[in-house]
Symmetry: C2
Subunit: 397 residues, 2 copies
């Protein structure tokens, strides 16, 4: 047998790092590699009660049946109301419910991209977005990112070099992998540039509500003057990823097409899980739950940053995230964080992270790492970071 | 704003029929249009108990967390064991858990199809498969289907005319829309032809376990001699569609690639729903539940066929399905079933079906309709079919 797969499969390749992390699933391993929320904080009892009420005689059958591709109408309305209350005007009809934020990336890639089309991404950018978009065979152009997020002056230069660009992908709040947040001035300028060049902006906000310091900034969607921002959000980080629910917000013309692609891709999201999340938001206080997460993650972030500062040798920089799940390390030039993890950190200290190389769409830089602080216990954060610090101190001497 | 969408969107169009059925959601409407299971038969109390146990203190957190893209290992093993016990040798590693059978179609389309590639489908074929595959911009070639399923002699002719064919899509058991089942001789010959032409066969089996007469025939996957059959199955029709879970069975080389596409598309299926279905299969008897469905649907099928025979005028043919959810009507040449539904059946009798035109990939025939018997009550079956029969009698006079 010699099946010929589609050409796009040349862009769909296993990740060596993923395999390394999967095969290193040693119980003694301390992994800063995932983007997992802390499962000790899931509202398990509340969700148990919610499923019990949804699966009652009165509502259980409907919750187990098919519904519309757009998603459960009452949950679409609840998502719209919540976004609107927090400053992003949204109608129920602007909402498509998807199987986690990742599906939003897949559907927007399908909507927009022919082979060879250009997508602008931050340098570095979210690995999952590259994984989602690669099957549509785009080219990437990259824009520098600093402590105020995407560098919009550099974006102008990149747009001048790539007039064929179709969309810009960004994580403006607590960026993955760097943890930085785009300033208001840059958000405004980004919208102006997108208008000027007639581009779609894909705004990905899975961490947005997990802010530990300062004030929330307006979403790009709320600053959008021409309906060209597609906004993605998710319950994965604020409630539970195992329910696989997120949302896409877009203007009607775009949303109608994304809905046809959702129908094609998997008919609809889980009626049962949509019903349960709707009931959760009606019977419990999601905002209060998020406050508890924020309080817990703030402590973890502070502990991680302090432990890095205490135990890492000079010459390693880190970002100071005001929210989200990650900090981003910059090792000295010439340092290979992939080799260091494989040859030193994993065998000698049983510590893992995501080597930064995975997050660069074009020019790969080897001297970075993404470190997650949400998923681990406080003890493991101190223990793992200290072990890593000791090894780096020896290694970088 | 004038966004340029991808070229594939020319193939992703709203369906007039879908809109007609959606807007016709009058409570007095009797719709034979959907492919819905009867929600009165869902094991609601059992699933309520199962979710209660999965969301216990001991297991709730893990059930709400991320898991692997392949799906929950224990559920993969359970699916493999069940298939193997029923005659299709399967290992846990051959199983990818997906968000309903529809996602299997999307992933296999992505895996195999470049724009312009040829897919062979039955004439007519499942509309949802065309919807899933269209975004990959294939050409279709069609093969006749009769009471023994896909006509493999005609397939030989079609293959000779289309040597560029990459895959054959089929619903061998209780075909959608016609309800017919492929004979064993034809299954064997289909495998031979696929081997000879080095093609992938996509075997879609959502209705397979809903057999009302006769003996189960071997799956194409079990007859496969070279690992070229990708087998799709689903919990939607045997348990509950609102949980959105199905499976893809394939050889390791194909399965590994489909898993990468699953990761790209939506990371993974719902951990919670996978955990709940696993617990259901451990705590309850899925086979006994399916027997209850079979008993109930057999009665509905018999009632529908008898009512058609009693009330329809001469000149309308129907199939006799041994299982599944549908029968297929053939009206006299020149009859337009879309116009009849819109202009006569909906306004005058408030009865809907799916006009056959939707199911033809190449040459559209207007004189057919697909009629579902699983979703409605016995009273509605008799009432709706009788009303349709009376109108047809008047109209075809």
């Amino acid at each position: 047998m010699s099946l010929t797969f589609s050409r796009r499969m040349e862009r769909v390749r296993p990740s060596a790092i993923r395999d390394l992390l999967a095969h290193g699933a040693d119980p003694r391993l301390i992994s800063f590699g995932g983007g997992y929320p802390d499962q000790r904080l899931f509202p398990v009892a509340e969700l148990r009660s919610v499923f019990d009420s949804v699966l009652s005689d009165a509502t259980g059958s409907a919750a187990l049946q098919y519904t519309t591709s757009e998603g459960l109408p009452a949950l679409r309305a609840a998502i719209a109301d919540r976004l609107a209350a927090k400053g992003t005007p949204t109608a129920a009809d602007d909402v498509l419910i998807v199987q986690g934020g990742q599906q939003g990336l897949d559907l927007v890639g399908k909507l927009m991209l022919d082979a060879g089309d250009t997508v602008i991404v931050e340098d570095p950018t979210f690995l999952g977005a590259l994984i989602a978009l690669n099957p549509f065979e785009p080219q990437y152009a990259t824009v520098r990112i600093d402590d105020e997020g995407m560098d919009v002056e550099h974006l102008e230069t990149v747009l001048a070099r790539h007039p064929e660009t179709k969309m810009i992908y960004t994580v403006p709040d607590f960026h993955n992998p760097t943890g930085v947040t785009m300033s208001l001035a840059r958000r405004t300028r980004l919208i102006e540039l997108a208008n000027q060049h007639d581009l779609l902006i894909l705004e990905d906000t899975p961490y947005r509500e997990l802010r530990y310091d300062g004030e929330h900034l307006p979403t790009l969607r709320s600053l959008d003057t021409e309906g060209r921002v597609v906004h993605l959000g998710s319950y994965s980080k604020i409630l539970a990823p195992g329910m696989r629910l997120g949302w896409v917000i877009a203007d009607p013309d775009v949303l109608a097409r994304l809905t046809l692609l959702k129908l094609a891709a998997d008919t609809q999201s889980s009626t049962l899980n949509m019903s349960a999340i709707l009931a959760y938001t009606q019977q419990y206080d999601l905002d209060a739950h998020i406050e508890r997460l924020v309080d817990a993650y703030r402590i973890k972030r502070d502990l991680m940053l302090a432990t890095i500062d205490d135990t890492f040798p000079a010459g390693i920089e880190r970002t100071t995230p005001s929210g989200g799940l990650f900090t981003w390390l910059t090792f000295p030039e010439g340092f290979d964080s992939t080799a260091f993890m494989k040859d030193v950190a994993l065998p000698e200290a049983r510590v893992a992270y995501v080597p930064g190389a995975s997050f660069f769409a074009v020019d790969v830089k080897t001297n970075h790492a993404r470190i997650n602080f949400s998923g681990l216990s406080e003890d493991d954060i101190v223990d793992g970071i200290s072990r890593l610090g000791a090894l780096l101190t020896t290694h970088l001497k």
